[in-house]
Structures are given as C-alpha cells and as structure tokens.
C-alpha cells in the first residue's frame, strides 16, 4: 500500500495543462514555410526526391495532404523549404493543405478551419467518434490512442473514441483504404446516424501517402462522402488532432 502511494506521488499529474497553447519541441517537423527566392537548385531534382510527390512548382509548394514530413526536401533545398515546429496543420478544405511559397503559419491558421456551426448546435459540447483503420500502419492509430492518455486527455473536452458507430457522431479514417477494408469502412460510415462528420487523419487517409501507387487500394469512399476535416501528418501529433477537433467545434 505504501509503495502504491509512493508510486502515485511520483507519477503526480502528467496532463498538459493547456492543450491549445502547448508547443512542440524544436525538432518536430510541422508546418512548412517556403521561400522560393532562396532556392537556387534544380526544381525537377527537388520534386523528384519527395517520396510522396508532395512538392509542387510555380510557385514552389508543399501539399501537406501528401507530405509525410520526412524533411528530406529541407536538406535538398538548402533551407528554401523549412519545416517549423508549428503543429496546427489541419484544414477543413483539401485545397488549403497546399502550402505555397510565402504563406506564413499565422496566415494559414487564420482561415484553415471553418468551424462547423450546425454540428455544434445539434451535438452540443460533446463529440463521440468511431475510428476506422483502413490499411493504417498503426502509426496514426497509436497517436490517436495517445490523444486519450494521461498526457493529452482529450476526454476532458468531452471528445472520445467510442466502440460502436451507432454511438458516434462521425468517423475518423486512418490508412490508405485497402480494397479489403473498403466495404467495412463503408458499412461503418452508413451505421452512423446523421448528421455526421468524417475526419481523415494522416497522409495515407488524405492521399494514399507512401501507398498511393498501390493497386490494392480502393479509395472510392473518399470521393463519395464529404470529408469535413483533414489532419495531415505521418502520423499527426496528438496535439495536431485535438486542436483540429477543438477548432472545428469552435471550442477555444
């Protein structure tokens, strides 16, 4: 019993007090800031090294929906592309994930997430989500699980992952959507009652990621339903996911 108390005391409180203001360490590769004028090399060579084809030209840009934030282009571009440690990279519009040269983090953040007024009105302050892993490598799944651990404690906002789609207000997709999982994903979506939201988490769910060229995927689902929120990353950090949901629900 005394040992247990000692353990509890050592453990203390591990929760991050302010999820909204929390910042990540310098090494984190988050929002890319691009300064094309500083690039003097060969653009074709630069775009070719990207493992997911996320780099665009005219102007130089990075599609965060494809980007796996490996940072290889930062090295190759001699600093013209720089991954900052800023982590609020989610958006409600797929097109907005394309970050062009000159776009600052603050400017991106100001309009990245359009809060869902209607959903808030119906669902109140709580949000229950059914997560479906459809070919995910367990990276995104581990970070989504971490959202509910003692450090991030997403439950404090009334946001939880639930077991049944019947209890859920929406689904969270991870993975590139394999052919073998496409029917189950579709069934889970249909089982959630309206109104419902769809959140795509990670490069794979948004664009196929490193598996985009696999012939074993079936991504018709993402064309058929409306994805309400895109959360980039490989995998997205828990703070990225939680803040995206809070912004979407206008909870800050």
């Amino acid at each position: 019993m005394l040992e247990l108390l000692r353990l509890r005391k050592r453990h203390g409180s591990q929760a991050i007090p302010d999820i909204v203001k929390a910042e990540l360490m310098e090494t984190h590769r988050g929002f890319p800031e691009i300064n094309e004028s500083r690039f003097s090399g060969n653009l074709d060579e630069l775009t070719a090294i990207c493992p997911t084809g996320a780099i665009g030209t005219r102007p130089l840009s990075i599609d965060m929906g494809k980007c796996i934030f490996c940072g290889e282009c930062e090295i190759q571009s001699a600093g013209a592309i720089r991954f900052t440690n800023r982590h609020k990279t989610a958006s409600t519009r797929r097109d907005d994930l394309v970050v062009p040269s000159g776009l600052a983090y603050e400017e991106f953040g100001a309009k990245a997430i359009e809060a869902a007024g209607g959903i808030r009105k119906i669902l109140g302050r709580s949000l229950k989500l059914r997560q479906v892993s459809a070919g995910g490598c367990n990276g995104c799944e581990m970070e989504l699980n971490a959202c509910s651990n003692v450090n991030f404690d997403m439950g404090r906002f009334g946001i939880d992952f639930v077991a049944s789609p019947r209890h859920a207000d929406g689904i969270v997709i991870t993975g590139p959507i394999t052919g073998n999982m496409a029917p189950a994903l579709s069934d889970a979506y249909k089982s959630v009652s309206d109104p419902k939201i769809v959140v795509a988490v990670g490069a794979c769910a948004i664009s196929g990621g490193v598996f985009a060229e696999s012939k074993h995927l079936n991504r018709t689902f993402v064309g058929e339903v409306q994805v309400d929120l895109f959360v980039p990353g490989c995998p997205p950090h828990p703070l990225t996911f939680i803040n995206a949901i809070l912004d979407f629900l206008k909870r800050r």
């Binding site: 997560q131 990276g139 699980n145 394999t178």
Partner: protein, 495 residues
C-alpha cells in the same frame, strides 16, 4: 544434398544457391528442421524463368543460415511440410495463394491475405471452421474492433463461455508493400520511408532491417557511430512499446494506476526519440548507409538522464503491478502456450521467450552494436499472460543496460556513408530483433544490380497462431487480455 551455408547479412551469389526439385526441397527442409533447425523463411519469387521457391533454415546456436531453392511452375503440387513441421503452415499457405503451388495434405489451406483468384478471393467466400452441438456457438469479431485498433477478424468457436478454437482471418490491411519495394522509379528515399511504414509501431526495426540488407547488397560500410545510434534507437523503441504494453495489460485487468503510470513513462521515451530525430516513432532516423541524425552531447545527456530517471520509475511501477494479488489473479495461468507448442509453431520474440524458447536475434545472429556486445537471452518458463507481461519488464531493464553500454561506446566519426549501388545477382537475408521478435528482410538483385524481390516477414507472421493456441479452453472474456499480451501487428502481417 548440400545446402548453401550463409549468415545474417552475408550475401551469396544467386548462382551458388542449390536448386532441387520441389519435393526434395520440402523433404530436406523438414529433415533440417527436425534436426534442430528453425524454419526462417519459405517463399516464392516470380521471374521470367518461372517461380523460384527459397527455403531458409536457421541454426541459431551456430549463427548460421542454410538456403536452398527450387524452380517450379504455377499449378504444381508437392507433399505438404506442415504435418511434420507445423511452423511451415503459413509459409505454405502464402506460397499457394501467391503462386498456386499446392502443398498436398495441408490441414488448413486457407487464404492468407487476399485469397486465390477464382476460388476464394471474395471475403464472403472464406470458409470458417464451424462447431455444432448443444450450447456450441460461434462469435465473430471484426474486422473493425472496439477500440482504435487495426482491423482483423476473429472467429471464436465456443461452448458456453469457453473457447474451443479461435480462427484468425487477416488480410484487411493488405496494401502491396512488397510490390511497392520494387516499384519504378528507384528511389532510396522512397525505400527508406516505405520500410518505416511496414509496421508503424516498428519503424526502427523494419527501416533498420531493410537498411542493413541494402548495405550488404551494395557492400556499403556503415560508420561505427551510426551503428551505435541505430542500436540505441532500437532499444528505445523496445522500451517504449513494452511500457505501452504494460500500460495496456494493466488497463485490461482494470488496474488503472498501472495503465496511467506506464502510459506516462512511455510518453517520456517517445518524446526522447522525437528529440533525436523529430518524430516520436523514429521516422527519419534510419537512412540507407547510416542514420539521418546524430546523437549530440546534449542528446547523449538527455538519453542518459531518461534511462536513469526511468529505471527507478519502472521498477517501482512494476513492483507494485506484479505484487498486486488482484492483478496476478488475472495474469497467472491465463493463456498458456507451452514450450513445445511455441517451438513447434515457430514463435519468436518475447512471446516465445516467455514460453521458455530461447530465441533472440541480437544474440543468435547479431547485427550492428550487438556484434561486439553480447545480449543474454532472457526466458521465463510459464508461457502465460504473466510471463509475457513480466518478460517485458525484465527486457526493459536489460535495454536500459544496453543503452548505457552503447552510449559509452559512442566513438567520434561520421554518421552516414556514401551509398553504392547493389551488386548484381545476389541474395541476402537481414534479421533484426525488433521489440516483437525476429524481423526478416530477404532481398534479391537481378543481373543489372536492380532490386527484383523484397520478402518481408514481420514477427507477427510467426506469432498470430500462438494467440490462437493461447486462448483455447480459456473464457472468451480473457481474450482481450491474451491479445494484449501478444500485441501483434496486422499491417506487418498483411503487408
């Protein structure tokens, strides 16, 4: 019949690999495994000259690997090895699924990932085992499970609350990883990132294993400093996941203090990995030819402080966990896999060691920092959930020691060598002891030096059947606990 002898990361010329007819290859494989060998890999490769089947048997005591092959054609059949050596069961099913080479007499020739075109490729064509009789019933779970977990289907044949048999149907995560390894255009960066995503919980294990295979094929000498950093990263990965597993096991027996404490400790480990390379799971660290990030003096102090700090925290938390009678009541004698069963079905990693089977690649077929630093193989006799939980605790302590030793041997120097192209017409197998157990990457180059085949085997491929055996005769309510005690990968299996 003489096998070609090789070893972990030692390349052989394709032309040197003996080629026998398929019956002979199967017969010799059975003989070698029955003579004390361990079936490492048995897989096919389609070439212009037909399908080549490679059989690899390990002699763990002598750090040797024996390889032989057979050229076959689709539709061929041979006498199944599985009745004699059960560890062949999935390899034979996989070969049948991919190349239509039929093992006659296989007891359960079912699909592995996607079925046989025209036979059982649709999910509703899969035939489960069934039970009939009074009070006999079946429970189907998945592919979507209750939590935030990868998909797979579990079919329980039960009598009342008791499980007779568990059939595990996987393949939902199949995304063609092995095909993508040989896609055009060739890009080393793409290969690194793809290897990281074979199983996102084993980034260092798989990316490191593939990198070592590629470096062997190309004769690239990796700087010692990089090898040390890789070894530290691998052990950090092991510590992090083992802590997470202890947290999950605690949660499953409603021991919430353990659930919280181990979870918070895991966070400290993965945040340290992030301090090294910018990603909590070590993405970006493993490069072909070395590592992408150095361990600076500041990081070195940070890792040392982490280990010092954690050592005390972990032992306190584990002592409390493993002395709680209500916890022990759930863990002990639950989900037993006997030593004989574990060895026969070819289990690997901590799950095998918890059943008393002494296999550990770090010791049997050493790589990187383990070549110069012997690792004592830890085993426990029980084979139950307790043993699989407790072995994680003692492995964490062992990893702390290994990390300290590696930090002490961190010599000055570069962290990355210039990468050469792979040599033509050669074969290599790279074995890695990931946190889950033995990871194998067999890589073959063509006559132009291009990679033409990458065969990946995650330890989950060996161990899923162990979970089936563990839950037999157990109450169905103990399944989640047994499952957590294995913590196997779906995507690593499905590829």
């Amino acid at each position: 019949m003489k096998w070609l002898e090789t070893a972990n990361l030692r390349t052989v010329r394709l032309a040197e690999i003996p080629n026998w007819d398929l019956e002979e290859l199967a017969h010799q494989t059975v003989a070698r495994v029955n003579g004390g060998g361990r079936l490492l890999l048995f897989f096919g490769e389609e070439t212009r000259e037909g399908v080549f089947v490679y059989s690899l048997v390990a002699d763990d005591n002598q750090s040797k690997i024996f390889v032989a092959s057979s050229r076959v054609t689709r539709g061929m059949s041979y006498k199944s090895m599985t009745p004699d050596i059960p560890s062949a069961h999935l390899f034979e099913r996989e070969l049948f699924e991919e190349f239509g080479v039929e093992p006659k007499g296989h007891p359960w020739l079912k699909p592995v990932r996607y079925g046989i075109p025209g036979v059982n490729e649709r999910e509703d064509q899969y035939e489960f085992f069934s039970v009939k009789g009074d009070e006999a019933h079946e429970v189907g779970v998945g592919p979507i499970h209750a939590g935030v977990i990868e998909p797979g289907h579990f079919r329980f044949s039960c009598h009342g609350e008791k499980i007779y048999q568990l059939e595990i149907k996987l393949g939902f995560q199949h995304r063609g990883v092995q095909e993508l390894f040989i896609r055009e255009p060739f890009s080393t960066i793409y290969l690194e990132k793809l290897a990281e995503s074979v199983a996102g919980d084993t980034v260092i294990g798989h990316a490191g294993g593939f990198a070592r295979a590629f470096e062997s094929l190309s004769g690239t000498q990796v700087p010692e400093r990089a090898k040390v950093i890789r070894t530290i990263a691998l052990e950090l990965e092991r510590v992090a996941i083992h802590l997470g597993d202890l947290s999950a096991i605690s949660g499953d027996v409603a021991y919430l203090t353990g659930n919280s404490v181990f979870g918070a400790l895991r966070t400290k480990v993965i945040n340290t990995t992030m301090a090294i390379c910018g990603n909590r799971f070590g993405r970006g660290l493993m490069k072909l030819g070395g590592v992408g990030f150095d361990v600076t003096p500041v990081l070195r102090d940070k890792i040392t402080a982490l280990v010092d700090d954690l050592e005390e925290d972990v032992s306190l938390a584990a002592e409390v966990l493993f002395s709680s009678s209500s916890v022990l009541e759930r863990l002990e004698e639950t989900g037993v896999v006997t030593k004989e069963a574990a060895r026969d079905i070819g289990m690997v990693g901590p799950a095998a060691r918890a059943s008393g089977v002494a296999v550990d690649v770090r010791s049997d077929h050493p790589f990187d920092g383990f070549v110069l630093m012997p690792v004592h193989k830890l085993t426990l006799p029980g084979g139950d959930v307790f043993a699989r939980a407790y072995i994680r605790y003692i492995e964490i302590q062992q990893s702390f020691r290994l990390i300290r030793e590696q930090l002490a041997s961190l010599s000055p120097g570069g962290i990355r060598s210039e990468l050469k192209g792979p040599h033509p017409g050669i074969f290599v197998v790279s074995l890695t002891e990931g946190w889950r157990g033995e990871i194998a990457h067999a890589v073959i180059t063509d006559e132009a030096g291009k990679i033409r085949k990458v065969k990946v085997k995650d330890p989950s491929f060996n161990n899923w059947f162990g979970l089936s055996l563990a839950v037999r005769e157990e109450g169905i309510s103990d399944f989640p606990l047994c499952n957590k005690s294995f913590n196997l990968s779906y995507c690593g299996f499905d590829l």
